[in-house]
């Protein structure tokens, strides 16, 4: 686990995570008071949960994926990965250690969001509170199923290309999966083009992991069968992303 310790020490030493950690805590408590809450104070709690999850997505897009791409690029360029290869640390172990180092810090951020969303915005009614807790747990699971494989991809791309290019590809995939598909649906509403339909089907439907609406409008937890379908789909996408990442990963640049 030498590579893990080295990477983790490097991330902590750079301290950029601290900026996002502060924002993750501050924004959910500040942003709801910028809304017109005065005539309806009960919108503050759902708005807090909403802001907490938005911030986590922003942190995943701006910090996590960038860290992965940057570390992959830096370690491969500086010969660190090649050095560990000569010590007998194989490709999959290297990838696992780099991923774990980034995710160790990010796990703390997920806990912050989960804590704020669950405990500072929980409804008073016991049944609603139970649904709220379950929805937050489901959201964490689905969120991990999207961000964890993308982090692996950003690391692998970073070892092969420049960090900026690796970051651009992974954030592009995330944005397309979260927002781009919605635009594609608008085009498909009055268009039968097989190419667009094919693009729609093979696009990563990351938007399925977005349970923010369920929290904001107190829709209750996702039925377990539906969660299972989504988890199977996102899990499959994750495995595919992992397989591509293993192929793309290079110890030497």
């Amino acid at each position: 686990m030498e590579l893990f310790r080295l990477t983790l020490a490097s991330i902590i030493n750079r301290k950029t995570f601290a900026i996002f950690a502060v924002l993750l805590i501050a924004i959910p408590f500040v942003l709801p008071y910028m809304t017109p809450w005065e005539t309806k104070p009960s919108i503050i709690e759902p708005a807090r949960a909403q802001a907490a999850w938005w911030m986590l997505w922003v942190t995943a897009a701006c910090w996590l994926l960038f860290q992965g791409a940057n570390i992959g690029d830096r370690w491969a360029s500086h010969g660190i990965l090649e050095y560990f290869k000569t010590l007998g640390v194989n490709r999959i172990s290297q990838m696992g250690q780099l991923w774990l180092a980034c995710f160790t810090v990010f796990a703390g951020m997920i806990l912050i969001t989960f804590g704020i969303s669950t405990f500072t915005a929980m409804p008073g009614d016991p049944i609603e509170a139970k649904h709220w807790l379950i929805t937050n747990c489901q959201y964490v699971i689905l969120f991990l199923m999207v961000t964890a494989p993308l982090l692996m991809l950003s690391i692998a791309l970073g070892t092969r290309f420049r960090g900026a290019a690796a970051y651009a590809v992974t954030i592009g995939l995330l944005v397309h999966g979260l927002f781009g598909i919605r635009y594609l649906e608008v085009f498909l509403a009055d268009n039968t083009s097989p190419l667009l339909n094919f693009l729609y089907v093979v696009s990563p439907h990351y938007h399925l992991s977005d349970l923010t609406s369920r929290l904001v409008f107190k829709l209750g937890s996702l039925p377990w069968a539906e969660l299972g379908n989504t988890a199977v789909y996102l899990g499959g996408l994750g495995l595919l992303t992992l397989a591509f990442s293993i192929q793309l990963y290079r110890e030497v640049k």
């Binding site: 017109p36 809450w37 005065e38 609406s213 789909y233 499959g236 595919l240 293993i246």
Partner: protein, 305 residues
């Protein structure tokens, strides 16, 4: 790459592909794959309300620059009724005014630059096609504001006005759309039990629905049925009563104190306006109930003339 790594990657890819196909099949069956139209729950949320209000400034800017073709009032600081200082008297007026602090002079200097940045120097007006484009842009922005917060008085009413008014490109189809819009607005608001302000939007939507429903009768000068009048009177009365109750509750609990004075005045003005328009219903119902008496009164008035 070693043989074992390659085999791992290939088996991961195969199982990933299998799971993705199985998962997407199940999701397609249960219609879950569609992305929907509310990413991260923004529409109709607290931030939707905020963005709908912020959108008003954009709409205001495009309206004044594109339709009225003047510098927006919030930039120039001048209202429609501001009387211009007669030419040649600016210096005299300026001398009579008390000296401004430096910070105010600096702000005024910046404001003048913003005004000149947006002042029209082209002697020609926008072409009709261009104006039509501007109208459509404004309509799109208003539609977005409405989707962000369907309960917002300004967002609903301005969008309704835009799609029903011929000057702004309103058609018979868009008037049908306005009917759906009014009904949807009322549906969103009906279950509200905290925010008093939204019931003024509901009252306004009900009034708009009444206007749409009785449009033909007013154009053809045929009487409006008593049932229609009573239906809308009861509905609007219900909304205004709920507004009063919720406002009283907010005042008692101290929530009303959170609302700024400007907004309190704005809400009070809207309430007075709604009350005044609602007040006409009793007279209309009285006329509908006793048409003979009304005719007789009219005849007497004509004779006296």
């Amino acid at each position: 790459m070693s043989r074992s790594t390659l085999i791992s990657a290939l088996s991961l890819a195969a199982s990933g592909l299998l799971l993705t196909v199985v998962g997407s099949g199940a999701l397609t069956k249960s219609s879950q794959l569609a992305a929907g139209d509310n990413p991260f729950g923004i529409y109709r949320s607290a931030y939707g309300k905020l963005l709908a209000r912020l959108g008003e400034t954009t709409i205001d800017r495009i309206w004044h620059l594109g339709v009225e073709q003047i510098v927006p009032h919030y930039m120039s600081g001048e209202s429609h009724s501001t009387a211009a200082v007669p030419k040649g008297t600016e210096t005299i007026v300026a001398q009579k005014l008390p000296a401004k602090p430096v910070i105010e002079l600096a702000k005024s200097w910046i404001q003048k630059r913003v005004v000149s940045q947006h002042s029209r120097t082209n002697p020609y007006s926008l072409s009709d096609q261009h104006k039509h484009r501007v109208h459509k842009d404004i309509e799109k922005l208003m539609s977005r504001s409405y989707r962000l917060d369907p309960t917002h008085y300004g967002a609903y009413n301005s969008y309704n006005l835009f799609i029903t008014h011929h000057t702004f490109g309103g058609t018979d189809e868009s008037r049908d759309h306005a009917k759906v819009l009014g009904e949807e607005t009322i549906r969103y608001i009906e279950d509200e039990n905290e925010d008093a302000e939204v019931f003024l939007t509901a009252a306004s939507a009900s009034m708009n629905l009444f206007i749409i429903e009785t449009e033909d009768a007013r154009v053809n000068q045929t009487p409006i049925s008593l049932e229609t009048l009573q239906k809308y009177r009861d509905q609007i009365s219900g909304f205004l009563t709920t507004f009063e109750k919720l406002q009283e509750k907010a005042q008692d609990s101290g929530v009303w104190d959170n609302v700024s004075t400007d907004r309190q005045v704005e809400i009070a003005q809207r309430y007075r306006f709604s009350k005044k328009t609602f007040g006409q219903f009793d007279a209309m119902i009285a006329r509908a109930e006793n048409p003979d008496q009304v005719e007789a009164t009219a005849e007497v008035a004509e004779t006296q003339d």
